[in-house]
Symmetry: C2
Subunit: 339 residues, 2 copies
DNA sequence: TTGAAAGCGCTACCAA
DNA sequence: TTGGTAGCGCTTTCAA
């Protein structure tokens, strides 16, 4: 079977020739410049359509200095939260004609060559949802005028950020557990790797202590299911077993919950388990985990706003936006007696 | 605090001036052209390093016609398989200095404007891991000489593909279940949405029937956990309950398994459950699902090979590569008595 | 071994 | 309302 005859792509020049006008006229007509007469505009539009013309975005970048390309840094697949974030980012960026180039996806830090790609491809900005940038990488972006926005991260030097109020979320969870009669909590944190986890734990701990509770133990959940599972096993084996668990993310809570059940404990009868993020998996009947929901859609919307605004006007100051989340009470935590 | 003084980026021209040579010399020296004297090469290399020079990949594209950019189409987050695939693709592409631009991520078909982005950004090729392209989209790619490679999909017109032998995998699973003494199977398929699912079911069914088994029921698992869960509930309620379940993907199997347990059934004592893909989640102790593992690393490697080869030489024929997977027997299926 | 010049496709400035 | 021209940063003949 013959391949179709690979015509060379139409360009502004070819269009201008077949229209018998100059290239500048075509360029202006195509972007609806009002200085071009209406009839000319529609004539050229038709010509372009017939020729299957598509502008060369890269050539445009060269002269305009703006590529429409954004870098994206994504966290490890082991935490489904990032998958949700990715879908949201892609969905919203379609409407804004933003294109994302994947800089990094997975565990581990962003490598230097990744930062270089950012510059080589003239990316207009960068969205980071996970691993912290090295100071060097942040420095490179800043000194090259590439705005950086972090979602689900606290702001750093030279970056704007959108996050939910993690400390507040932790505190709300503490109140919820206290109201359910819990007083001895085990906390599964993430080992200082993420500021989110630290804030969540701090908010929880302060409120739980203030409410008369007591932190019976702390474990490092390493932000993964297995880490939560290990912690759960240890909690089940404790002499004076805690009456509740606060995990700083749902994926850790899921691991803990499975381990507790494997040890023969019933949830929430023997022990309550709570998480953070409210990922879809945590809502499944098999887990049904009480969690603190981050307003993901809005977080992404604001993140893209920040990015596009600062691309349009680099003199804008850096911003830190904090959004309030929502506690979703589910079946994994005992509720106050309603008698 | 002062921002650092935003020097304009170094270009080949600025380098050539400070070196006192021509731009072409710099260009050649930087890419190690042997025609340039060794001393000149190292002198320019040093200059470039000091100036923090990074080539403008977009400008290079304009003259060379090759962007180094590839499009990526990813399936819905509801199936963790795609998250694994994404990480593998990103990890491997770093070593090959390939850059992926996200064309689509999530459920639903690829939109036309997505295909247009492919051309506007002069992408060298496109990797599809999920939703089928419309014929129109495939046509557009073909007529513009953009190679398309599908991973985990059967080849279509104008595209190469890498997949695992799905029918064989289904057959192997049938044999495994037969060997474990099962004779009445329920199959949870994906409603004809994906050729993978169809092949897996066909392979399973033929082998299971051939081995003296019988297909007691079929359900549509819609490729999501909830679909598997619904099916599991119905299976648990059947009068003559099947003794095993074959789900065409792990995420469906997980849903089914949870539903069966919620109905009070023990696995595998009362009923065996098997899946496909061997995603990390299926290996967790809480599920421990017998599954058929796709050789993901190799699949991605071959996919990228196909892509880069056909970019380098567009006259190469389209290829379909089929890899053999591995049955991973776990605790969710009864094994043959070893007496 | 090096340089000059043209050109990739598009935008923007200055004229007309 | 339109055209001419220069230039974005790099590659690549063709000359020297």
């Amino acid at each position: 079977m013959e391949l179709p005859p690979r015509r060379p792509r139409a360009t502004i020049l070819t269009l201008s020739r077949s229209a018998g006008v100059s290239a500048s006229t075509v360029s202006r007509a195509l972007k609806g410049d009002p200085r071009i007469s209406k009839s000319m505009r529609s004539r050229i539009a038709e010509l372009a359509r017939d020729a299957g013309y598509l502008p060369n975005a890269l050539a445009r970048t060269l002269s305009s200095g703006r590529s429409g390309l954004l870098g994206l840094v994504l966290g490890p697949r082991s935490n489904p939260f990032y998958a949700t974030l990715l879908e949201e980012v892609v969905a919203q960026s379609a409407d804004r004609s933003l294109r994302f180039l994947i800089l990094h996806a997975g565990p581990g830090p962003i490598e230097d060559r990744t930062t270089e790609a950012l510059l080589q491809y003239q990316m207009d900005g960068c969205l980071i949802t996970s691993a912290d940038m090295s100071s060097r990488a942040a420095e490179i972006c800043a000194s090259n005028g590439v705005p950086v926005v972090m979602i689900n991260r606290v702001p750093r030097l030279h970056a704007s950020a959108v996050s939910c109020d993690n400390a507040e979320g932790g505190a709300r969870m503490a109140e919820h557990l206290l109201a359910g009669g819990h007083r001895r909590a085990a906390v599964i944190h993430t080992g200082g790797a993420s500021s989110n986890g630290i804030d969540r734990e701090r908010g929880f701990t302060e409120a739980f202590l203030a409410g008369g509770g007591h932190i019976a133990a702390r474990f490092d959940g390493r932000s993964i299911y297995e880490g939560g599972h290990d912690a759960g096993r240890q909690i089940a084996a404790m002499d004076a077993r805690p009456d509740c668990v606060f995990a700083v993310s749902d994926i850790i809570a899921m691991g803990a919950m499975d381990a507790l059940r494997e040890a023969g404990l019933a949830i929430p009868r023997d022990i309550s388990v709570s998480g953070f993020d409210s990922i879809p998996e945590a809502a499944r009947a098999a887990y049904d985990i009480t969690s603190f929901e981050q307003p993901l859609t809005t977080m992404v919307r604001r993140g893209l706003d920040l990015l596009t605004d600062r691309i349009a006007d680099p003199s804008l100051p850096e911003e830190a936006i904090t959004l309030r989340g929502t506690l979703i009470a589910r079946g994994s935590t005992r509720r106050p007696a309603t008698s």
